[in-house]
Symmetry: C2
Subunit: 240 residues, 2 copies
Amino acid sequence: MDTNAAPNVTAAALAPPKPVAARSLVEAAHEAIRHEILTGGLAPGEKLRFEMLRKRFGFGASTLREALTRLVGEALVTSEEQKGFRVAPVSLEDLADLTRTRKFIELEALRESILNGDDAWEGRLVSAFHRLSKVEAKLSSGPELQQDEFEHRNNEFHHALISACPSRWLHHLHGILYQQSERYRRISLVNRVVPRDVHAEHKAMFDAALARNVELACQVAGEHIERTLSVMAKVLTAGR
Amino acid sequence: MDTNAAPNVTAAALAPPKPVAARSLVEAAHEAIRHEILTGGLAPGEKLRFEMLRKRFGFGASTLREALTRLVGEALVTSEEQKGFRVAPVSLEDLADLTRTRKFIELEALRESILNGDDAWEGRLVSAFHRLSKVEAKLSSGPELQQDEFEHRNNEFHHALISACPSRWLHHLHGILYQQSERYRRISLVNRVVPRDVHAEHKAMFDAALARNVELACQVAGEHIERTLSVMAKVLTAGR
DNA sequence: GTCAACAATAATTTCGAGATTTTTTATAAA
DNA sequence: TTTATAAAAAATCTCGAAATTATTGTTGAC
């Protein structure tokens, strides 16, 4: 079969936020709505009416319904039988609990990853750190333009760190928690109040991991997560 | 409005396994299919065609589709774009990884639960242990009849143990892993090979928790989970 | 003036048919 | 006999409308 370059999605062509081409309309709808929730275009607690979503994204009711059901599974959307869907709410308590739980999971994964890491893992890590450093340097000049790209590379770097952890279930759980954190992180990025040398923190994690120093890496990563919490907490309380 | 005792679901009346009345057809379909997967009526790896599911359960295509999407979120079903749904496969590797990860999560939740437990928690624990003990005694006579009830009360007891853990996210993650374990556990229950005093193990956990002995409770619970793994592993390898 | 029952409106949920894609089967060439 | 191509069949995916349920607004009685 030859490659078909023509986009075969018709309804999706109407929606403004369309970063990636998806294999099915449900996937496209899922990613579009997910992006809007993560970036705040759909506010926490907001009711998700089908008529509104139809106009905004251009998908049919069944397609939207399945996309929302996926998002419920990722805990980005809540649903109550016969009463529709809502964007999952955010709160300081949830952020604190989420961060604590993520730290618990992520440090265990990091530990196992460092112990099991091979040359290929080191290669992925070096590569991801390099790409992240590049976008971090640009971020100070034009913040909003590179935010999606920064999140993507930040995600890649953190994933590379734990990518040698052999437990599929630990990865699965971490993925859920990480996506939740991303939501809070983006809130604190758009209106950042605390100046912070994130690059230095990333470099410390990178160095400790490559040196195979489990204890140091976990300590640094733990502090990194905690610091992220305190920054996000400040933003959330300041907004009130 | 007065209470309406008549079942308002029409299509669902055809399906044989219908334990609970659901608020929506999607929920009914979700629970019916989930039950069939957990009990083995739908085999691991089996393709889930809509025509087959329509005949078997009597729901419409969209309803089934959403129910399957929910099950994908619970990792009981896998989906590949444009190629449909399958029952999630089982394997010895997955079981080992799952058990290890569940132990990691469940012991942490148990630790926090014992430290935070109040009188209400003790009450729930005593009650759940009592109910579990009753059904355990009956289980030796008629195994198949009480299996659903045993699983239900076993679930209640293990949930009661960690119910005083304040972390919602830890509970959420534990729920995912516990449901997965239930699937393997039911396989090893129908064709059990190793005689085992499960009641004594449960009693040891119960006593240690009520005595607020964190270390002993975690040790006993850890051994309980490990022993469950070894039993299930024996069944899975014997089946080959 | 307050509360409850009832009607009107709006939203969600469900279904079946049509469009698109994948898989299978048949045919022909090497 | 094997491989490639193409038609046919089967399955999934998507849509819009009908049915069910929740919400809102109004009227009437106490």
